[in-house]
């Protein structure tokens, strides 16, 4: 705890996180899961094509697969990591004392978020060697790689703020976790289902009629990180969506705007609700 330029709450969170054996175990399991799935993927590829070597042309496919897989894993971990940050301190009865210090609510909330995001980014960084397989065979540009990384960071932050928010509002960690996972499930699985359903409906209504547009699938798709990731890596996906919805505004921009609003609102509410409003009883 020598570093006094770092915010004390963040400093403590990071110290505790990297002192805990669980964190390293987490990284290990993460890499193991990721590695096993990739090996499985390669195995299936080679069998499917009846060859004894990995097709270089599959590396682009592989990158997309890997990116979606990583996104899924990371998003799946985020609520577990963030939905307890405030409520668990409440349960352990350490929150009261922290709140009587002169630390601002903003610095407490932001530090809790940043320390969780930092750990998730570390997971992603630790998985970089696995990506080297993809780079070895080529097929993707460094630009695409960095866009994907930025996309992860952005999604993690948004889902992280949602986790912190429910942790601040809900007193019991278990219930906060369930709530955070439900929100995650809705924004991934739920929006996928709705997008598909709405697209079907639109097809049913406007069958052959090209001039009829049905914008609703766009609004569910723009909330779904997987659709947005695919639309970034595979632009043809956009064209198909535009065909249904008639909306030309890029999906990634709609995603960026809506998730920024969600993240900002979650942050503001968390900061406001962390301490009681002393003016009103």
């Amino acid at each position: 705890m020598k570093n006094f330029t770092l915010n004390p709450v963040l400093n403590k969170e990071l110290t505790l996180r990297f002192r805990s054996f669980k964190s390293y175990l987490g990284i290990l399991f993460y890499l193991l899961a990721l590695g096993l799935i990739i090996i499985g993927f390669i195995f299936i590829e080679t069998i499917a094509y009846g060859q004894n070597f990995f097709r270089p042309s599959a590396s682009r496919e592989m990158f997309m697969f890997l990116s979606a897989l990583q996104l899924g894993l990371v998003l799946f971990i985020t609520p577990g990591l963030t939905a307890g940050v405030i409520s668990s301190e409440r349960e352990k009865q350490t929150l009261n004392i922290l709140l009587t210090t002169t630390q601002s609510s903003t610095s407490i909330i932001v530090s809790k978020l940043v320390s969780s995001v930092a750990y998730l980014m570390l997971l992603i960084a630790a998985s970089l060697p696995l990506y080297s397989i993809v780079f070895l065979f080529g097929g993707i540009s460094p630009g695409q790689f960095f866009i994907t990384a930025g996309f992860y960071l952005f999604s993690i932050i948004t889902f992280g703020t949602i986790g912190v928010l429910v942790s601040t509002l809900i007193r019991r960690t278990i219930i906060a976790m369930v709530t955070a996972y439900s929100i995650l499930l809705f924004l991934t699985g739920g929006t996928t289902f709705l997008t598909v359903l709405l697209s079907e409906i639109s097809y049913g209504y406007y069958g052959g009629n090209v001039s009829g547009f049905f914008p609703f699938p766009y609004f569910t798709a723009m909330l779904n990180p997987f659709f947005v990731l695919i639309s970034v890596l595979e632009p043809s996906f956009n064209d198909e969506l535009t065909q249904y919805t008639g909306i030309h505004f890029p999906l990634w921009a709609a995603f960026l705007i809506s998730y920024t609003i969600i993240a900002a609102a979650s942050m503001v509410i968390s900061i406001k609700k962390l301490r009681p409003n002393m003016q009103r009883g």
Binding site: M1, K2, F4, P8, V9, N11, K12, T15, L16, R19, S20, K92, Q93, T94, N96, I97, L98, L99, T100, T101, T102, Q103, S104, R275, P276, N277, M278, Q279, R280, G281
Partner: protein, 310 residues
């Protein structure tokens, strides 16, 4: 200095704290005594800016607890009745963390923390993980923590609860030392003798109301001298009231419902007997003349539990 004005806290319909007024001067050690559920922790949480009052307010060294929360937090060192500690953190790191949370620079903390550990007799545990400390040690560590920013006011909620007799004595020694350092200390307990010898002043709280305040001996005197007497009578109230009001030992006479009045009596038992005799002889149509058991007495019995105050 602590100034509490008409402080009220309601949980739904339940009133946990009822128009509490209190002034505690700088350098005073004030003991807040009351049974379980009396409202001690509620009061302290409000003063520590952790709980919003329903109405009323309080000032700590002139800072309003509702408006100048940050300044109030700088003024007070708060020790809650129940608290937890972070595991995986060593004793000295624990203090470093809270010190940093108050914005104390590292170099300063380095000098400060050994002194605080010394004060609470935990120097030998500075490299031990906090969750491995005994309960009494944790309590002392929490006290050291509440002192880290050198607050002028200490708000300590039952700091000796759950401690064995020896640890209680140790805790009291530390508090006495803090008193000599000139801190204003607000300390609570549900047993009076525990606080009696170290407090300059005591407040007794019951059902969210302050029912007595003063030095321990003042409160005892209050108990022995004062009786509340309820008189029921027939006929006109005016004559009855003027009769009792003329007695020098009667004060605070109030008319209750029709045909009933109540006053505080300070005379001896013989004088009380004489008073009743005269009243009957004057044909005042008295139905009953009875001593109301003072609420204070009940509470006092409960919080002293037969122990002698010395």
């Amino acid at each position: 200095m602590i100034e509490i004005i008409e402080l009220t806290k309601k949980y739904g319909k339940f009133t946990a704290l009822d128009s509490l007024n209190l002034q505690i001067n700088k350098g005073t050690v004030f003991g807040f005594v009351g049974q379980n559920g009396a409202g001690k922790s509620t009061t302290f949480s409000i003063l520590a800016t952790l709980l919003a009052p329903t109405s009323g307010t309080a000032f700590i060294n002139g800072y309003n607890i509702q408006k100048d929360t940050k300044a109030v937090r700088r003024q007070i060192g708060y020790m809650p009745d129940f608290f937890g500690v972070y595991d995986q953190l060593k004793t000295s790191e624990y203090l470093h963390f809270y010190g940093a949370s108050y914005g104390i620079p590292y170099q300063e903390r380095q000098k400060l923390i050994p002194r605080l550990l010394e004060l609470v007799n935990l120097s030998h545990k500075k490299d031990v993980y906090v969750d491995l400390l005994s309960r009494g040690m944790k309590q002392r560590l929490c006290l050291a923590r509440s002192l880290i920013h050198d607050p002028e006011v200490l708000i300590l909620d039952e700091p000796a609860s759950g401690l064995d007799p020896r640890a209680r004595v140790e805790m009291r020694e530390i508090l006495k030392e803090l008193k000599t350092m000139g801190k204003t200390i607000l300390i609570s307990s549900h047993i009076l003798p525990e606080l009696a010898d170290m407090c300059d002043s005591i407040g007794i709280i019951d059902h969210g109301r302050l029912i007595a305040q003063g030095s321990v001996s003042e409160i005892q005197a209050m108990l022995h001298q004062e009786r509340t007497i309820v008189v029921k009578f027939l006929g006109e109230a005016k004559r009855v009231i003027s009769f009792f009001e003329d007695d020098p030992f009667v004060s605070k006479l109030t008319e209750m419902e029709k045909g009933s009045l109540q006053f505080v009596y300070r005379g001896t038992e013989e004088e009380q007997m004489e008073l009743l005799k005269r009243a009957v002889l004057q044909d005042l149509q008295i139905i009953s003349f009875s001593e109301e058991k003072a609420n204070l007495e009940d509470v006092f019995m409960e919080i002293t539990k037969g122990a002698s105050l010395s």
